[in-house]
Amino acid sequence: MRAMSPICYSQSEFPPFPGLRVELEHLLGVTDPLLAKIDTGATRTVVPAALLDQVGAIRTGRVVSCRSYDGRKREWPLYEVTLHVTDDRWPDGVRRLFKNTLALGVAGPAEVLLGRDILAAWHLHLDGPRSRYRVE
């Protein structure tokens, strides 16, 4: 049982950030493992549209409206896709599978951001000084 083993932040940028390996899956298959950022500032999970195309996600017809910091309004489509946490460090008993979750698909190069729609399933304890987190 690895229920509360700490997971180190990703060091790929500074300051380091809490991240985890996930895979996206839908009608056409599954992606390679992707490093996703835990983002409590994101209302919904964000995924590059190219990855959604790759796995044959479903574009639902639902649209979300967001604002950028200069006040401009942008709309983005919502896709139905399955997200699977495949990180080896992920503790047993903590939810890994999010079937048919709704994610914002954004064009161009982008990160996978795990928003509060996913994060609501977990208890997260961020340990900034030691650059690690626990999840249960």
Partner: protein, 204 residues
Amino acid sequence: MPGTDDLSKTLETYGRAKLRRAVNELAQQELPSSSLDLSGLEADIIDATRRLLITGEVSSDSVLMCIAYFDGATQADLADSFSIAEGTVRKRIKGFLEAVVREINEPGETGAGGDTDAWTWRDDHEAYERERDSLGREYPGCYIAMHRGEVIGVGDSANEAAREGLEQLDRPTSLFVIRAGDPLPEPEQLGMQMEAPRSMVCEQ
């Protein structure tokens, strides 16, 4: 006929990609300059903006050709043929096309989804909305998968429709799927800030 001031609203309604196609189409039309009917001319432009048939991007040259054409035509014909304020009308047409050029050269916030392809997800939505009633009658209770305005998959579930569509298309993509006849949901307003500076590329 949208004037320059109405351009943002027009782009929002019809989509930038469609306007590009419309201008492209106008540049290729042989409009009858000798019997130019102004009301018809306006209708042509409005109709053209509604057409979704032509793919591909319009070039600035095409737009300039349009402007030149309308300039010449109105100067030569309108004043004699119609009892109208020729200058005002010409300015409206020219202003509209010039505004399209500006929008093409300086893409602004009205392009949604960040999609730069000639056909965007918004075009799919517009195509569906136009045919919604007839699609509801043709596929009652079924889910349909659409690609560039065409139904390419039908099923009892969204997945079934999408699978059929993907088989038809034979290439990876994410298809627009909806229950035929259902209205598109209103946009969901998120408090989320997109295009935020989430990661710093360079700090000085």
